[in-house]
């Protein structure tokens, strides 16, 4: 294994350590979303997926 792979692994582990307390806090304190709340997220994500497919066909 080369040192680039080790460096990348160190960077990702550092990010995980950075995010872990925020994840714990968010999981414990986030309010629950209703199905209409989730639809408000899913619809733009589907639009983005369609847009990316369009971009892929353009390049």
């Amino acid at each position: 294994m080369d040192w680039m792979a080790i460096g990348s692994a160190v960077l990702i582990i550092a990010l995980m350590v950075f995010i872990f307390p925020r994840m714990k806090h968010a999981v414990q304190n986030s309010p629950k979303g209703s199905s209409s709340d989730w639809m408000g997220f899913i619809i733009p994500i589907l639009a983005i997926a369609g847009f990316i497919i369009l971009l892929i066909n353009m390049v």
Partner: protein, 221 residues
């Protein structure tokens, strides 16, 4: 009657404060994006390698971790933010040089695509004024799963897994843009330096994921 006037006055103050955070965030975000682009261009002209890029990312992460939270409440946070965004921009140079050599239209399309997605999501959050705070747990867990998968893929080296990770990053970063914008609108985020850092990271990761997806699926003729 007097209580009602006080309540209306407080509500107006809150709206003004929210608009100020939003305006400052977008102004600082546009300046940091331009600066990051300039630094990426400098890095590309210097033909920086992947090793230097990795070191720059680690230094940026260190500043993000230790320096930014300590300085974000003062004007000292602005140069720290510019340092982080400049280092991350410069760190993009080897990837950009790689795609420029293969198919330059991938870079311009990813750049334009990221701009359209960011503006579309921001416009959506601003016009609907929906509260996306319920997504906090989902987005953070998703981000952690992506990091675990990316760590595993350093050793597994599976191209399909890399594409799945990039697609997941697009979904998570899009969610984070909605989450952060909604947080500013609803008064959850009152520090424009922290809001800019969060939005900048989402835009940068979105751009990289899009670059990878377009590079993998797009034609190279």
């Amino acid at each position: 009657m007097n209580d009602q006037n006080i309540s209306i006055s407080r509500s107006q103050e809150s709206v003004l404060a929210t608009n100020k955070v939003l305006k400052n965030t977008y102004m600082l975000l546009s300046m940091t994006l331009i600066f990051s682009g300039v630094m990426a261009f400098v890095g590309m002209s210097m033909n920086l390698g992947h090793g230097v890029s990795l070191v720059l990312s680690l230094v940026a992460l260190g500043l993000l971790w230790f320096a930014l939270p300590r300085t974000a409440n003062s004007s000292a946070g602005i140069p720290v933010l510019f340092a982080i965004t400049g280092l991350l921009g410069m760190g993009l140079a080897p990837v950009l040089n790689h795609y420029m050599a293969i198919n330059p239209s991938v870079v311009s399309t990813a750049l334009g695509g990221t701009g359209v997605i960011f503006l579309g999501l921001s416009g959506y959050a601003l016009t609907t004024r929906k509260d996306f705070s319920f997504m906090g747990g989902f987005l953070m867990v998703g981000l952690m799963v992506v990091l675990v998968a990316a760590l595993a893929n350093i050793f597994l080296q599976m191209p399909v897994m890399q594409l799945v990770i990039s697609a997941a990053i697009v979904v998570i970063m899009s969610g984070l843009i909605l989450y952060e914008t909604s947080s500013i609108i609803h008064g959850g985020e009152t520090n424009y330096i922290m809001a800019t850092a969060s939005l900048f990271l989402s835009v940068l990761n979105l751009f990289q994921a899009l670059l990878h997806l377009l590079g993998a699926f797009g034609s190279d003729d």
